[in-house]
Subunit: 243 residues, 2 copies
Amino acid sequence: MVRFFVPPEELTGEVLMLTGENAQHAKVLRLKTGEEALVCDGEGRECLCVVTDTAGGQFSLTVRQRRESETEAAVQVSVYMAFPKADKLEHVIQKATELGAYEIVAFPSARCVSKPDEKSLKKKLERWQKIAASAAEQSGRGRIPQVRVLPSFKAALEEAAKADKRLMFYENEQAVTLKMALTGSTYRTVSLLTGPEGGLEEKEVAQAREAGLQVCTLGKRILRCETAPLCALSAVMYDAGEF
Amino acid sequence: MVRFFVPPEELTGEVLMLTGENAQHAKVLRLKTGEEALVCDGEGRECLCVVTDTAGGQFSLTVRQRRESETEAAVQVSVYMAFPKADKLEHVIQKATELGAYEIVAFPSARCVSKPDEKSLKKKLERWQKIAASAAEQSGRGRIPQVRVLPSFKAALEEAAKADKRLMFYENEQAVTLKMALTGSTYRTVSLLTGPEGGLEEKEVAQAREAGLQVCTLGKRILRCETAPLCALSAVMYDAGEF
């Protein structure tokens, strides 16, 4: 079923009108009277609608059912990623959205070779948010993960530490596996923190431990910086019973 | 430690010489006498060596220890993927290699929009194998996964069915999760079979069941054809205790 995202304040009333890009999209899809469509607020609520009027290129949809999205994960996983090169961050945003991440948070770390400057950041965040929206639509999600940027590694640790499970992945860790970190306890929120192309510094790993993060391995093979968060996210979703 | 792959027949004797691309690579890395290096046969055996001579741009390495690779997964996971568009297959080959796949096998299915013709296939296979070799080197593997192509969907089912766990992922399956399929039994070999951009046809899913494959879901979100095999592979590696 086709899926449109609208601002939460537009998800009111018994008849919804598609506007702007949504109307464009409906036109391209040749949406017809009688067809069903989902209108979502991008925050987990959605209306199952039927198209009741398409006269004059205007699309009116009548609400049949209001409900919580049925495709959101019960577990909230925040993906914290040290800034990689631009195309890799975009890749992770798209894939992490498909895989059900709650949010994607980029932050600077010592060995980051690529950090967007203040000036370009606003435009980039808009672009990243669009990538998340498009992936959310394509994968049938009811929520668009927020893409955020933090000013420092310290800020990332402080935020990440608030989750029930707060995990940092480090290639020199050999004793503690992700499985050990997850087994035997329940969790509703998870933070996954991974490093940039050049890896995390030992000093950073020590800071993370101090902040209350658990340092784990993702196995004996060295994963690229864009592979690690997606591998960890897939495993957490699996562990949490999502598939 | 730097890692070179050589044909298995060259991994004999007490002194190994680097030739061709390996010698080139050693030159670029400015490998020096006294440094350690790993020489691997790409099939899971490796020699821990020390560089003993670099005179005249020739690199002689003396074998210190012969051993089985320490970075290969104990579980053998074969990734069977219906031909996607070219760049996606390359992406999956690279990532599945990092994640520890045993082999990557491409096959045609009803809704494939992209199938390489006989003529171009040989060249493409060479290219794909190079991508796997490069990812194996970068991720520190001792084995280069073989990239293979099968002539038919039926051939893929027949091969995939030989594994201890043989799983097909289908977006319309809702009852059986990957976790259900894996829990409560041991396995040493796994086949993961996924569809192309347009998905698998119901008829194909029925054929897979008949061939003995178990049909599972990867969750409530629709994954892109290049995301599904990597998500499943990550989860299987996690379940098998790799991380």
